[in-house]
Symmetry: C2
Subunit: 304 residues, 2 copies
């Protein structure tokens, strides 16, 4: 074995910029071309998924794989899978029966552009696509048992107890008084589960053992909570141009947000505390985790 793992890890220079570039290339090809029958559906899928987002979740997959010493290129299907799942959830959350949002990432939402029926169907198809991508891991030399585990984890993270369940709780909480605990529970399901899953999938594909995978999952749950509180804060203060969606929509709909439940000052302190804790733990993972630390730092410093 000698020093092979170390060489394999650094070979393509895993900076966040390189990870992002590789991901964008892979992702644009992973989705069916826009002319595939039925073309309107495939256009809607690409519109919803390829919109100019932060790509936090796929970058976490790739950087986590790199951080545990794996070859991050093998994790590209897993990165595409979590981004498909994320795009599905955004498209469905924006629907008239849900949050009824007209703008997202500075553009009309998918259902505003393609109609409600294609909005629903594009979300559905992206969720199915996520699992098709994950199943491809087995073709890229990832042991099939790990690919099957990846499917189970992502399905659970998207399912009725986590992401989808969080959205149901979020809608039920609209207009009602909710305390900090209840909001944290919603955030944990709606945002934390998929972010934690992204880190776990990266570690799993990278060949990490159960303890390391669990450690990254725990870190992801904190990161997800920080990220969502941060989002709540940005929604209160930002303009449409900075945020890419209408600011102040949470307050207008009296949504359950953390600043609303505990006050803006406490929410800000909590997000900072969580981010700092995550950054400290990532430093504890050693020099391999540099890219992962940079991805988290960029998330913490974002202003929209």
């Amino acid at each position: 074995m000698s020093r092979r793992p170390a060489r394999r890890r650094r070979s393509p220079g895993a900076s966040p910029a390189i990870l992002r570039h590789a991901f964008e290339r892979y992702f644009a090809r992973a989705l069916p071309p826009a002319r595939t029958t039925p073309p309107r559906l495939h256009q809607a899928m690409r519109y919803g998924a390829l919109s100019p987002g932060k790509r936090l979740r796929p970058l976490l997959v790739l950087a986590a794989c790199d951080a545990v010493g794996g070859d991050w290129r093998r994790a590209l299907p897993a990165a595409a899978a979590v981004e498909c799942a994320h795009a599905f959830s955004l498209i469905h959350d924006d629907l008239p029966a849900m949050d009824d949002d007209d703008f997202r990432r500075g553009r009309p939402t998918t259902h505003r552009r393609y109609g409600e029926a294609l909005g629903i169907l594009a979300g559905d198809a992206l969720l199915a696509r996520a699992f098709e991508e994950l199943a491809r891991l087995a073709e890229r030399g990832v042991p099939a048992a790990r690919a099957a585990r990846a499917v189970r984890w992502l399905a659970a993270a998207c399912g009725s107890r986590e992401l989808v369940g969080g959205q149901a709780l979020d809608l039920a909480a609209e207009g009602r008084r909710t305390d900090g605990l209840a909001v944290r529970d919603i955030h944990r399901r709606k945002t934390g589960a998929l972010i934690a899953c992204s880190l776990q999938l990266g570690a799993l594909v990278g060949g990490a053992g159960a303890a390391r995978v669990g450690e990254l999952g725990a870190l992801g749950r904190r990161l997800g909570l920080a990220f969502q509180i941060h989002d709540d804060l940005l929604n209160r203060g930002s303009s449409l141009r900075r945020l890419g969606k209408r600011a102040g929509t949470d307050a207008a709909r009296r949504k359950a947000t953390y600043p609303r439940a505990v006050g803006e000052q406490r929410a800000r302190l909590e997000a900072e505390r969580l981010y700092a804790g995550v950054a400290r733990r990532i430093r504890g993972l050693g020099p391999r985790a540099t890219a992962l630390g940079e991805v988290v730092l960029a998330a913490a410093e974002r202003v929209r």
Copy 2:
């Protein structure tokens, strides 16, 4: 090996009634209990999935597994997965932005009962659940490589080129003149793909080789087309009580149906011809395929 396979196959007497009983028991436990947080979402999922349906697809999974000499009990997670996927598609197809149906299987549709938001979310969660179930195959002694393949096939069958794509084409065809070829294409995607996938998954879990799996898939595509033409014919003639949903809704919405495209008489002959061809091929599979033949016969003879 001596005569083990033959003994293993017949041990629990795989009649359609026994398969169905085992499936209902398994399926009711496979879905999260109704009191799980968030309870309304889990109630909506159970309402949509456990409604009194024909269970054609899960029975095909189990009977196909039995037909290739496998232990059908190992295929129960795959049977639950296809039924979750089927329930997801029914719930979403019934939504106001889609077919806008108020009744299904003799009861109010899921969104009529739980509201539109929970209708969308219950469908989403059932689709995610389908993959969680499939991933469980690996825990039941099915080789992980086969479990991963099962995930890829089901994801493709549910995805933008097949089931979801068929629904998009179906909506686009509403009110427009469509010929027999175009309707067959819609039916093949919307109904045929998941029925073919059910037979393939059963064969795969049962340990069949690629040729046998392919043969059952081809048979499933014909069966799916026969089944959907049959459905179109029933929708033209049946009363609400027999059909469990409003009859004549296809004609009222000027949907693309096979009888409308080629005439009722030709549609009837086509369905009969397809069913007969499928039955003949199943007889060609030998005595192991008795239960499978009976499941198909029951589908062909249904009057609602």
